[in-house]
Point group: D3
């Protein structure tokens, strides 16, 4: 079993029970989310370990997050309780764009944003087989950003998902910070998509963007929404197509893909096969509300693929 | 800002929470509806004013309707309270025809059907930039029908949606009454569809039906369900295609289209662009239960179209 | 097994899922109700037969009513389908009076109100061990009223629940009609309460009202809400106290009491014991939404009483 | 009206309100199900009679099943109450395979599995126009299996749905038992699908499998999931294509098809037309949770087909 | 009709659908709330006008608040849209203290807290018959606090509810600020309770606390939870007892009492009668989730009292 | 921190969303339950450790149980996965006895009932500060019963809750088995109630029953339902009264009491104070559906008691 060390903010998600503008949504459904937490659960679901570094509030939502993740097998022994509130967000679905979701954050000054370099236990990070974070952690606060830089300085086996959220910072800030991170600490696995690539390297063509990004990454996984995802590494390019399914909420689908991919690769799968399997994770993920409930184990992925083969 | 004066019945909609025959539906969700009210809210959502002429019951549902519409910005100062009950209807979804909805009315003798010519304030109607009603108001009672004739006699800027409901009258009654209205008071904007055209002018081909109907209307908008809608006026024909989205309930989609179209045209949009935008309104409308909750403003329509452009 | 023949209107009940004014209730729960139908199900639940005479709409709600009652064991072979809609009503709970419920009817011109003397099969009524109806059936239409008079003329074993609903007629109309029925056709069992007694005989004291009413009835059951109920017959007076339980909806509690009482008396229970048991039925009835779902059988009533004995 | 006599187990279905793995499903919706019960209700819905032979528990779920089926018009006078519990199952939807459902049974030792030859009333079975059962009844217990053999020995007008459930027996057991039944008692109507055919005759090509199976059956209906179904009989082959609709739960769709087909054929429809209509039943069936709520009558099927013709 | 001018923050309330610790609550129900908004709606419900001064976010929740209040008849023309998010709070019910509720705020830096003296239109405030605010507005920000001081300096007809929320400030801060306000600007109506009195004047005995507070207020209304409330003014003391009803959520009950009391007094009711009626408002208020949905009009209060008289 | 080792069956609870007979309950809410699991969570909630010995199915419900308990901090490392299904039960509430609940089990042959002496790790049990089980574990199978006997033979610090469930065994079987266990292995803490005492020692008077039972137990806790509970030990008798609160579901209240009592006593609280606190746990427990969600920590219990002191 391999161990991934992850830095980020765990959030409580309030997902609209009915779609449309939130002003007319009467009921919300609670889930545990946060990109890095999603990665962790996906990673653990495929048979490896994940250690979480971060903070939650000393409140009901903070305990909610910890109990849920511990239940899913994530190592939360290093998560700290902080006096600030646990960050939350609401999900508005299918409005104004059908099949898209919008996040409305209440996370400014949250416990999670207080993640700070002192939380980054050096031995813990050095002992991991992989250290992972995302653009969100870079964006939420300077102390959180510094924490990622510190962690990346401690372990050369790095993974990064660009995950640019324009409600948290400007494209300019995103580009400057992420590119600095990648320059200072080139990664093994870079997970990104065409929209983020346009912001980072001014290029949204998957092939051309990846060519540029591969200067900073051994492996680039380029997500392309429902179409599928491409993989670029020394062994060449590989495209894995998506599956067409009814969409309930796309939030977290990219994390499902990334976490599954990393875990399987760490377990020794070929990257191509890992991506095919990861596409299944993200496919199942969009069929429900909630980011972690539908994350599949190996046998579920294989059951899915076996059924698709029949057709 | 332009002002539309509207005559009709506001209804309370009880929409089936689960689809299938109503005998097996256990829960119903309440919404404010009624074709003309839907038009009004769509019209207001796009930045213009709408004055409503009609009656609701002096009961909880009547207050419900008034508070909701006032909240949405509709001018309800001229709605009267009547001793009869507020009309209601149930929506049965996906049965027996998938993706179709059926309305079961409890509106006979309702407050709304007591709309009468004395409710039609002459100065109010004369002062409007547009006076609007539908075939439903013609059908619900003779006094309501007379009210429409009176209002149409007072203001030459008229709009009419044929909206033939065969649970309210026979095809013969519908044809006679609507065609008399159109002959007596030709309209600027006629919104209709192929089924209604067959009843009214014996022709369901969009082009041929519109050619006949344009004798009574400067502009004909011919709705064609999920396929889209066509526009006919002196400037020629224009077809705007629909978008394929998951359907929850189609009730009110035509009103969304009509109200959005009229409001944008009144605001100075070209009719072609107004129709393209109106199609977005009706597309969003079918994705939820309720007729007015998903009616978009300008920025929402543009966000939708921008996303579609990407694809 | 004894057979009761019942005349009345089966209604579909839309009960507010949350309490408060209906304008703010978003969800409604569907049930089958109607006073005489409630009586029938209670009667059958205690081991006897009930034949229903009435009409429902040729619509989903009508089929709903028939399938439900047939499922509960009521004989619905004589219920006719009518072209008018099945009557419905909404229940508003706890507002403006806590623990009280208000019925909002949509039953004017309903199928059920078309009950007519021609529906009253003479042999069927004559063959019953008891013929039963209520003040509601007298109020809904003249043809329904005539049907009750006809049925009561055919069989001397009569039961009547006054059930005056002031939304259906005036106190004056109620008094005139009910007292005429009782004078023409004195009953064996009269079920009433103090409010109805005040209207009928100008007296709301249970003892004094019953003394007057016993001129028209061998047995008077005087309901007194949560306090309990009194029984008056040649054998003297008997009071059975109520039980204090959390109240969800009181609608139908009186019918539960009446139907249980009649069925047990017909089965040979002493009237005093039958009333004690009937109080249990009405107690369970107020704990849920819906009028018929909680109607208990004999073993449930005895389990209830055994538990109360412990205390 | 024709009468079908059916043997099997009525189950209570607990269907997941949200899709995904059951560990994360918080709410379940209760329905009455069981393949043979589904057949019965479909059969009755199309205007014929169905007599059910089987057992339910002397518990709330058992009464639930009886009241529901009696309400739907099924003859349940011959269903026995048994001291064992009514069998139940949970439905997990869309996981791990989108648009598929998985049944999790709690039926071992259930009341329904105690069906025994003594329950099979000889005159009742002989008097039926058709005697029907499925592979499930063969699998649940030896006494249930013997009951089917006994019933099939009593009446030559037999119908059988293979319905192999690999959670109840092995492929080997299924093949041995079903083929013995078919050899001993060739049937008039055999309803099956390609997966079951592979197990039974080692052939999943519809044409070739049917050719083999027709040695034991006058008519073979070969279900092919959403694609449609084929019919094979002396009059040749006929294929009826499926309709593409949003899928909520596929459980029971095959029974809807089979029950509708048999009822219409018994009513004198051509088998080809019966199959076309049966496809409508199964199409409506997958759009909701619950196996019997959406079963259509003749007028609903025709409304569906009329609407499809328009397109 | 009298006009009250109110300053404060409108909040979106997310009320737990099930009681217990929020970590185990899966669904939340959305309502519009905020103490001053509650006051406004109660005030309007009793037939007077209320003008709201405050800010909401330029987001869905902000529009939600505005549309709802406008629908209820509150004058929201002076509410400004602000770039910060609309404040929200969660309600945890019955845990750890039965029948109590706890508010968990996400309102730091909210749009509402940006209320500033520049928002306080001098003519508007001067023109009101009463200017009202609460301790909450004093606590949320210094600019909001200054706004209250400014408004109170402009109009001598002042009303104030102490409403100390210890999650927003310390007892020391609350005492200092509120007492300064009352010293600088003595009020006509002071609404408070025993807990707040202990903090403000070190005295929780209703009589003694009111004696001290009356130095700063012509009238003191001392709320005492479910027990009722006392009134102190030159005319003496009056105690109005509470009613015992099932409690769903006590949030907002004090505002219901205060708003109803003020509106009726402004309409010319005696203060004693106004308090009796106000107790009804707060009684109905605790029976539901949501702070404004159950606010009664005059006829509802009288129906409540009439029923209580019967008992 | 002290460690309790517990043996028993973890169950999935399907609690009726609406009260009344299950035949009319349409929705069920899922929870993790089982008496010993409830004890464990209560024990952990108060700051100590609990190790669980038992089996769950290799199915979704089994994973559900493990993830939930792990999340709550229970040590589930010794729980085994078994090929049989995870046991479940349904909860029927308020029928036929108000405020009571009835459990309907589907646990015969369940994974949990396969608990066997080989699962009882000797070092684990010897290392615990307390070993605990209940009468339920004795009743579910002979191997489970033997496991309890084995565990009790390994560690003298024993605790036992009689928890007699008459759906699992006869009074005679219960008495014989439990009394043999207590004779062979006298316990430190015996938790029981008056109904169980009547079965075990023919005495339901708390004092007299406890006097007899104290021959087998240093400490007897005698639960008396909503009235409270009594404590008997060498230090004398102590009675702690219950609190009157609205009851949603009483299932699990006794376990809440027992687990809280044991944990606090192990932490060094006086038994009297521990019982007072334990009463708070059981009080909160009856206010919700679910057995473990409302289990309070120390600060919650103290907040509850502080509020009660005010009154």
């Amino acid at each position: 079993m391999k161990t991934m060390v992850t830095l980020g903010e765990i959030l409580i998600e309030l997902n609209a029970v009915t779609s449309g503008p939130l002003r007319h949504v009467n009921y919300f459904e609670k889930h545990v989310a946060g990109s890095e937490a999603n990665y962790c659960v996906a990673f653990v679901r495929l048979g490896n370990n994940c250690v979480y570094i971060g903070r939650v509030g000393r409140d009901e939502f903070g305990h909610n997050a910890i109990e849920w993740l511990r239940g899913k097998g994530v190592n939360v022994d290093h998560v700290k309780f902080d006096d600030n509130p646990t960050g939350i967000f609401f999900v508005q679905r299918d409005y104004p764009v059908p099949l898209h979701s919008e996040s409305i954050y209440y996370r400014k000054g949250s416990a999670g944003s207080r993640l700070s370099p002192e939380d980054v236990d050096e031995n813990l990070v050095r002992g991991g087989d992989l250290v992972h974070s995302t653009g969100i952690t870079l964006a939420i606060s300077s102390s959180a950003r510094d924490s990622v830089f510190k962690a990346f300085s401690l372990n050369g086996n790095r993974s990064f998902d660009t995950n640019i959220r324009l409600k948290l910072w400007t494209p300019e800030e995103a580009r400057t910070t992420i590119m600095k991170l990648l320059k200072d600490y080139p990664v093994k696995y870079l997970i990104t998509d065409v929209d983020d690539s346009r912001i980072l390297v001014g290029e949204s063509d998957p092939d051309r963007a990846s060519a540029i990004l591969r200067e900073y990454a051994e492996v680039v996984v380029m997500k392309q929404g429902p179409k599928g995802a491409s993989l670029y590494h020394d062994g060449g390019k590989y495209f894995s197509p998506g599956y067409s399914v009814p969409v309930e909420d796309v939030t977290g689908a990219g994390d499902a893909l990334g976490g599954t991919f990393l875990s399987l690769v760490m377990s020794g799968f070929s990257m191509e096969k890992a991506l095919d399997y990861a596409i299944v994770s993200s496919t199942l993920n969009v069929m429900i509300r909630g980011d972690q409930e539908n994350l599949p184990g190996l046998s579920e992925i294989e059951a899915f693929l076996k059924e698709m083969d029949k057709k």
